[in-house]
């Protein structure tokens, strides 16, 4: 955290190498976070996130981690975009709207395994907030406290929501008649699955 603060400070005072180091470090996670939630403009959103972070560094004082702060910004920008987009149809409500409703053309990201693809689809079909919680929890291994910081919600309610989101995802997969979900037991299996996705999404070295 201290190092990140230093990098942000250095970047602000014109040291682009510091900026590059920071973006280098957080790009993969941020990209993972944004890419299956919007259908275009992924790079713009990532950029805006870093720029907002550059302008408002004071606000990450007291956060439990820099990435919670960064993801919090990204989440704000994401919701803002959904809100603008949703004006013609129903209003955007994070607890209800899903990416599948909001963004029609989210690309199919990983085609190698159909079971994974089914899971991505299922994630995009549950409410955005639940998708977000599950991805942060499994892919980014964030603590409930960190997720709470990203979503601006108390830690306690996040714990409840993690449980609910998992049930929702399971239901969704079952509704789609997924055969694979049963073969991935709700235990270490989902962890392994999350990890395999995470591994695969790392940028080329």
């Amino acid at each position: 955290m201290e190092r990140e603060c230093e990098l942000v400070d250095a970047w602000r005072s014109g040291d682009e190498q510091a900026g590059e180091a920071l973006v280098e470090a957080y790009f993969p996670a941020l990209h993972r976070f944004v890419r299956n939630k919007i259908d275009h403009g992924v790079e713009d959103l990532i950029q805006s996130t870093f720029l907002a972070c550059l302008e408002g560094r004071d606000r990450f004082e007291g956060r439990s981690s820099f990435r919670a702060y960064l993801f919090g910004i990204a989440r704000h920008l994401l919701y803002e975009r959904y809100r603008k987009k949703a004006t013609h149809g129903a209003d955007f409500v994070a607890e209800r709207s899903s990416v599948a409703d909001l963004e029609t053309g989210v690309s199919t990201l990983v085609r190698r395994r159909s079971d994974e693809e089914q899971l991505y689809r299922a994630l995009r079909c549950i409410p955005v907030e639940q998708q977000l919680i599950l991805e942060l929890y499994f892919w980014e291994s964030m603590t409930a406290r960190e997720i709470g910081e990203v979503l601006d919600q108390p830690e306690g309610s996040i714990r409840t929501k993690i449980r609910r989101a998992r049930l929702q995802l399971r239901e969704r997969l079952e509704a789609e008649g997924s055969e694979t979900f049963d073969s991935i037991p709700v235990g270490g299996g989902i962890e392994a699955w999350a990890n395999s996705i995470r591994e695969r999404w790392k940028p080329p070295a």
Partner: protein, 1006 residues
């Protein structure tokens, strides 16, 4: 699974856990790359399309004014941040205006003064002239004035400083033309700096009288910055009349600004430009003056500067500034207003005489008095007498040299004292707190000087020996000018403990003086005692200092393990209390002791990372950079990373030469660099460094110093690589003589010297003597360094080699095996040290015809060298040659040829390339080819190797290979046979004789 918490620890970002490089890349990876590229391009456009202006990379805009735009920029050449001002020039006058501006800027570049924003450089683009200048972090004087009313003394301090800057520029023939609060910057330390000299009025060509612009634009220039020719509110009457700006008009502008700062309003009223001009020309001041607490004396000075007629003002800025200082001095001499209450005990004592001095003497000239009884003519004589009395031929010369060194140090101290005092009391650049800290720092330096003089006055041959080094290692006085350094010092504790702490500090200085003079045993008794005292006082910064000093003494005594332990403790304490200098001392101590003496690769971590961090924490002072790089280079050398070691040491040498010049510091770096270069097969470069190091030490330390012994030994070790072992033996014997006398027979340094001496005796064929030296070395090393030490491992190898040469094969092989185990345990298997031992082990086996075992060892060494040292390490070449020879000896020509061929490839790739080594591989390769019936190819390689006919390792083989090739091709067989017989008779290499015998016995196997 319990979903309340992840079952695994939270994973952090990829920055800390880089993914495996072999991850398959699908379409999604390419997509990620594209997004990534777009993000970087947009966030860091300059990386792709940098806005470059010669050597400057523009960073961001700092501000914009009437005169142009200012950018923050980076000077790529000097690696520093600068401010670049672009001044727009109009089409009509462009070329003349630009030329004038450039001339002006270059004149400015000549002015170097702490109160002037330094101009570094100037140049032009199509439409602009740009000026690169010092980047000042801070705000302008006008901002400062807007912040509300400040005490008049504070304002006066800033103006006195700015006034000095103006005076300095005038002294260089540069007129400001537009002095105003907006052009004075106050940096983050509160120092005033005047900016933008000479620029106003130039951008439009020749200055014009103001009358010619009677329009609203000119009216608004009242408040606009960078108006046509200065800012009317601060302009002198003669400038309104269209006359050129002069030092006197600068003085007028300065006084307008000072008036404004003191009274909160400008001296001349003017609702319009015309009204203002009229008031200025008539000298009609605001009436009545705004109420302000300004001494009449000061007010009178300002009024004189505001005189309408230039001749009625002060004769120069310098005189004005002197008058301003006088007006301030009148007050601070009265103790009640001096504010000495904030000055700590130490500086109070130092400044004690100051307030009582007559006003005619400089208020800051008391430094010399402070050195009375410390370093004055009487002390000097006492020390010179004591040192000269020592019965050594070089005693008198050393005494004089040391006296000179101490006088230089004392002069620097007096200058430092005066500058610290002037900065606060006269120039008003720095605060009372800063003065307090600077004086505290200087007092510490005085204490060190005093303690050293006392030690040097003891008539002792050892003191004479250590005298020069002791003087050189006194802490630099200049560092007390470093604001960050003095402010970083831990503030002194409560008053009740202060006397005891001061007493302990004095004792630490005494210990240090003894250690610097090489009196380790006397120092050790005392340092242990001081450490105890520090602990009793429970003052942690003192404990850190005492621990560092005790560790250094232990290091000097050769108690390396204990020394390291104390350095580590010192680090922990220093870290805890924020004693940053001691933290660096401690980290450097750990790295040096570990790398140089204990030689434990694993124990370098994390200290070789903590040391640079500690150095950065104290602001990267160049004076410590050399220490740091020397330690890091030594660490890299131990790790076997020769390139990095050479790089660090070369940079260390560069810094040393820049900051201290050629002296003992340089000798230390050169010694280490020479040793590393020698290991990197750069023998000539190594010899240059080692001889220079020895010369410096002999000149500075005399012939009996233990450091001179080490320099002799380093040179001797290198000379062993040459053809004649005699000079190497002489150097090593001299080293041993000095060490036995100075350090005693049990010191670990003696073990290392005996080790090398044993090796050289072996080269000279004196095997019994060699074995005896090595056994003595083994005994000392085992006791003083411990059985795990790598020197012990190396000694096993060296004894093994001697034993084998004596014919005691089994004993010898046994020693080799022990050595190999030892090295692997000490360095890990993939380090060059165990590889070297295994190579030598394999060679020993081969030399005694045990080729199967040799191939086993050499094959292992080769595999480790390939993977651990990289495919073009020169060691690999040696190993492959050993393999080739054993294969040839067992008739496996094909495998032998393969080994030589790989050796050739390796040697061609090694940097710097060694043509002799390449020729050697070609000669041996040619031999296997000739024996396999590939005469044409063999001839080509052999001919190439013939260039080294005189080299005993190449020439004979080249001749044999050529002869065999000709024999195999059925040509001139009598001549060829004659060559073979001749080489056989001449060579001392039994292996080669055996190969020739094979040829002579019959035709090669087809």
């Amino acid at each position: 699974m319990d979903i309340d918490e992840p079952t695994t620890a939270p994973l952090s970002t990829e920055a800390e856990h880089p993914g495996p490089s072999g991850t398959p890349q699908g379409p999604s990876d390419l997509d990620a790359e594209a997004v990534r590229a777009a993000v970087f391009r947009d966030l860091f456009p300059r990386r792709f399309d940098r806005v470059l202006l010669g050597r400057y990379t523009l960073l961001h805009k700092l501000g914009e004014g009437g005169m142009g735009v200012v950018y923050a920029a980076y000077d790529d050449v000097l690696d520093r941040k600068v401010a670049v001002k672009f001044i727009h020039t109009r089409q009509a006058h462009r070329s003349t205006a630009q030329a004038r501006l450039l001339r002006e800027a270059r004149a400015m570049a000549r002015v170097s003064h702490p109160a002037v924003v330094t101009v570094f450089d100037a140049g032009r683009t199509d439409e602009h002239v740009f000026i690169a200048m010092e980047f000042v972090e801070g705000r302008s004087l006008s901002k400062w004035m807007e912040e509300g009313s400040h005490p008049w003394r504070d304002a006066l301090s800033l103006f006195i400083a700015a006034g000095r800057g103006l005076a300095a520029a005038h002294g260089n023939g540069v007129v400001h033309r537009d002095f105003k609060p907006g052009n004075v910057l106050i940096d983050s330390h509160g120092r005033a700096k005047v900016a933008d000299f000479g620029l106003a009025g130039l951008e439009a060509g020749e200055p014009r009288p103001i009358e010619s612009t009677k329009n609203s634009e000119a009216e608004s220039a009242l408040t606009r910055t960078g108006a046509v020719m200065g800012t009317p509110a601060y302009m002198a009457p003669e400038q309104f009349a269209g006359e050129a700006a002069t030092p006197a008009s600068d003085q007028f502008s300065f006084c307008v600004a000072l008036f404004e700062a003191l009274f909160g309003a400008r001296p001349f009223d003017g609702q319009s430009l015309r009204a203002l001009e009229a008031n200025v020309k008539a000298g009609r001041l605001l009436s009545p003056l705004p109420p302000a607490e300004v001494p009449t004396r000061l007010k009178d000075i300002v009024m004189r500067g505001l005189s309408s007629s230039p001749s009625e003002r002060f004769e120069s800025m310098e005189q004005l500034v002197a008058a301003l200082e006088q007006s301030r001095r009148g007050r601070w001499q009265r103790p009640s207003t001096v504010g000495l209450a904030g000055v700590g005990l130490g500086s109070l004592a130092l400044l004690g005489g100051l307030a009582l001095q007559e006003p005619t003497t400089s208020p800051c000239s008391g430094g010399r008095q402070q050195l009375e009884g410390v370093w004055d003519p009487e002390q000097r004589q006492r020390m010179v007498d004591a040192l000269s009395a020592v019965d050594r031929p070089y005693a008198e010369g050393t005494a004089t040299g040391v006296a000179e060194g101490l006088s230089t140090y004392a002069d620097a101290w007096v200058a430092g004292f005066e500058d610290a005092c002037l900065a606060t009391r006269v120039r008003g650049e720095s605060s009372e707190t800063l003065l307090d800290r600077r004086m505290g720092c200087l007092q510490g330096r005085r204490r060190e000087l005093s303690a050293l003089v006392d030690v040097l006055a003891e008539p002792d041959p050892r003191v004479l020996r250590g005298a020069v080094e002791a003087v050189e290692s006194l802490p630099a006085v200049q560092r007390c000018d470093d604001i960050d350094y003095v402010l970083a010092e831990v503030p002194p504790p409560g008053a009740e403990r202060a006397p005891a702490i001061t007493a302990a500090e004095v004792e630490i200085s005494e210990v240090r003086a003894r250690r610097r003079a090489g009196l380790y045993d006397a120092a050790a008794t005392k340092s242990a005692k001081v450490l105890e005292q520090a602990r009793t006082l429970e003052y942690r910064p003192l404990v850190a200092a005492a621990l560092v000093e005790h560790a250094a003494v232990l290091e000097g005594q050769g108690n390396y393990a204990e020394a390291r332990e104390h350095y580590q403790r010192a680090y922990a304490v220093a870290d805890e209390v924020g004693a940053d200098e001691h933290r660096l001392d401690a980290a450097l101590g750990v790295v040096t002791v570990t790398a140089q003496h204990l030689r434990e690769t694993d124990a370098l971590q994390p200290w070789d990372a903590l040391a640079p961090a500690a150095w950065r924490r104290i602001g990267e002072p160049p004076l410590r950079e050399a220490d740091l790089r020397l330690a890091l280079g030594t660490g890299s050398y131990l790790r076997g990373n020769l390139d990095d070691a050479i790089e660090q040491l070369r940079r260390a040498l560069e810094v040393v030469m820049r900051t201290r010049g050629s002296g003992l510091h340089a000798a230390r770096v050169r010694g280490q660099l020479g040793t590393v270069l020698s290991d990197n097969s750069e023998r000539e470069a190594a010899e240059v460094q080692l001889r220079q190091a020895l010369d410096i030490r002999l000149a500075e330390q005399g012939p009996d110093h233990p450091d001179v012994a080490a320099a002799h030994r380093e040179l001797g070790t290198l000379l062993m690589l040459g053809d004649d072992p005699a000079p190497a033996a002489a150097s090593l014997r001299e080293a041993l003589r000095i060490q036995l006398e100075a350090l005693g027979s049990e010191h670990p340094e003696v073990a290392i010297t005996r080790n090398q001496l044993g090796r050289v005796l072996q080269l000279q064929g004196e095997l019994e003597a060699a074995l005896s030296e090595l056994r003595k070395a083994q005994q000392i090393a085992g006791q003083s360094l411990g059985g795990e030490h790598l020197v012990v491992g190396r000694l096993h190898k060296d004894m093994g080699s001697v034993l084998i040469e004596m014919g005691r094969i089994e004993e010898g092989l046994d020693e080799h095996r022990r050595s190999l185990e030892h090295m692997r345990a000490a360095f890990g298997p993939e380090h060059r040290a165990p590889v070297i031992v295994q190579l030598s082990f394999g060679q020993a086996l081969a030399a005694h015809g045990r080729h199967a075992e040799a191939l086993q060892e050499l094959g292992e060494a080769r595999d480790v060298a390939r993977s651990g040292l990289g495919p073009d390490d020169m060691l690999l070449g040696f190993i492959l040659h050993g393999i080739g020879r054993s294969h040839e000896a067992t008739g496996q020509l094909q495998q032998a040829g393969d080994a030589y061929r790989e050796a050739l490839r390796v040697r061609r790739a090694v940097e710097p390339s060694d043509p002799a080594a390449i020729a050697q591989s070609r000669a041996f390769l040619a031999h296997t080819m000739a024996r396999s019936g590939r005469g044409e190819e063999a001839l080509e390689h052999a001919e190439a190797a013939m260039a080294y006919l005189d080299d005993p390792d190449i020439g004979p083989m080249a001749r044999v290979a050529k002869a065999e090739a000709r024999l195999g091709m059925g040509r001139e067989s009598d001549d060829a046979l004659a060559v073979l017989r001749e080489v056989r008779a001449a060579t001392k290499d039994p292996w080669l004789r055996a190969r020739i015998d094979e040829s002579l016995a019959g035709p090669p196997p087809q």
